[in-house]
């Protein structure tokens, strides 16, 4: 079938060959969309989790609230404490910390129900949003850290 067939205006859309062609193209498009859905954008899952679990306190744009809740956007605490962030999300934080020169002595509850994969996606979202450029976490790294925290909690050290 010559390709120009397709662009021949004299051929109506109801022509069987054209119909088959449209059908096939639609099929291809659907398949491509379907395939891309199989590999979810991990930043999207991170963003969704952030909105559901964290934005209440840290706000949608990560700016925090006065002297009560530290910011995540532009926080110097994130790169400086990279190796304990997974544990903060799972077990919470009750400490005196300094973020961008300001002291916070508050309580953040942990979110025990998040899986290792979800925590990884969440960390990659917050570390690379609102201008943050703190690199990515790999799942193995997060898992190793979480396992260490679990043992610390078991020994009553955390």
């Amino acid at each position: 079938m010559p390709k120009t067939w397709f662009y021949n205006h004299e051929v109506t859309l109801s022509h069987p060959v054209i119909r088959a062609n449209i059908f096939f193209n639609t099929f291809l498009l659907t398949a491509i969309i379907g395939l891309s859905a199989c590999e979810p954008n991990t930043f999207q899952e991170g963003e969704r989790l952030y909105k559901a679990q964290c934005a209440n306190c840290h706000m949608d744009d990560g700016i925090g609230l006065s002297a009560l809740i530290p910011p995540i956007a532009g926080s110097d605490y994130l790169p400086a404490n990279r190796d304990i962030l997974p544990c903060i999300i799972r077990y919470g934080l009750k400490d005196t910390i300094v973020v961008n020169g300001k002291t916070y002595a508050e309580i953040m509850p942990g979110v025990a129900k998040l899986t290792d994969v979800q925590i990884t996606n969440l960390l990659n979202f917050i570390n690379n949003s609102w201008g943050n450029q703190n690199g990515l976490y790999r799942l193995e790294e997060v898992q190793a850290t979480l396992e260490e925290c679990r043992l610390q909690v078991q020994r009553g050290e955390r």
Binding site: A55, L65, S66, A67
Partner: protein, 206 residues
């Protein structure tokens, strides 16, 4: 085409005619008619204690309009967002003595006067713009109803309490005139317009 343009002009003119004048806020709540008089629900007498250990009553807000919400300090859910939006309202009106904000803690056990004071300082707020109050447990839970707000102790809820993130606007005559979802910035913007409408209607120039 000319005819069409003509029609359009007429339509536009008509639309301009029906543009509402300054909107007036309704009195909210179920009303009663007694002997031909309409009785509107009103906020009852109250007496609470604020972050400076001073007593706050209806008289504190005499000749003012005021906004109300319910919160607790260690609230893991909606409170910080309501507070962030409350702060926007506070910043806009803090030098305007025609109105004030009244936040009730529903965690009477933990949110002592000293804790409320610390909380106010960390938020960067103070009187006469913003009162944080505590008081008798039953009095607080029952007045939440009068403000059409939810405050329920529930051990299964995050933090131990269920409550709505509403901010309520009360006029000089103890009538509720408007409210918004304090977690929703766009709704709070609309609410701030209502504040201006009520100020113009009730108090006039500052």
């Amino acid at each position: 085409m000319k005819y069409f343009l003509f029609l359009l002009t007429i339509l536009a003119a008509l639309a301009a005619c029906t543009q509402p004048g300054p909107r007036s806020l309704p009195i909210l709540g179920e009303r009663d008619v007694v002997n031909g008089d309409t009785i509107y629900p009103t906020i009852p007498d109250f007496s609470f204690v604020d972050q400076d250990s001073q007593v706050v009553t209806n008289a504190t807000f005499k000749d003012k309009i005021y906004m109300v919400d319910f919160f607790f300090i260690h609230c893991p859910t909606i409170c910080p967002k309501v507070k962030a939006n409350g702060l926007r309202i506070y910043q806009k009106y803090k030098n305007d003595n025609r109105l004030a904000i009244l936040s009730h803690s529903i965690d009477v056990k933990n949110d002592t006067v000293a804790a409320l004071k610390r909380h106010a300082e960390k938020l960067g707020i103070g009187k006469p713009g913003w009162y944080l109050v505590t008081g008798d447990h039953d009095a607080i839970y029952s007045i939440a109803d009068d403000y059409f707000s939810v405050a329920i102790e529930n051990p299964d809820a995050p933090g131990g309490f269920d409550h709505s993130g509403r901010i309520i606007l009360v006029d000089k005559n103890r009538h509720v005139r408007s409210f918004c979802d304090g977690t929703d910035a766009a709704d709070v913007d609309r609410f701030m317009q209502d504040i201006d409408i009520l100020l113009a209607e009730e108090i006039g120039e500052k």
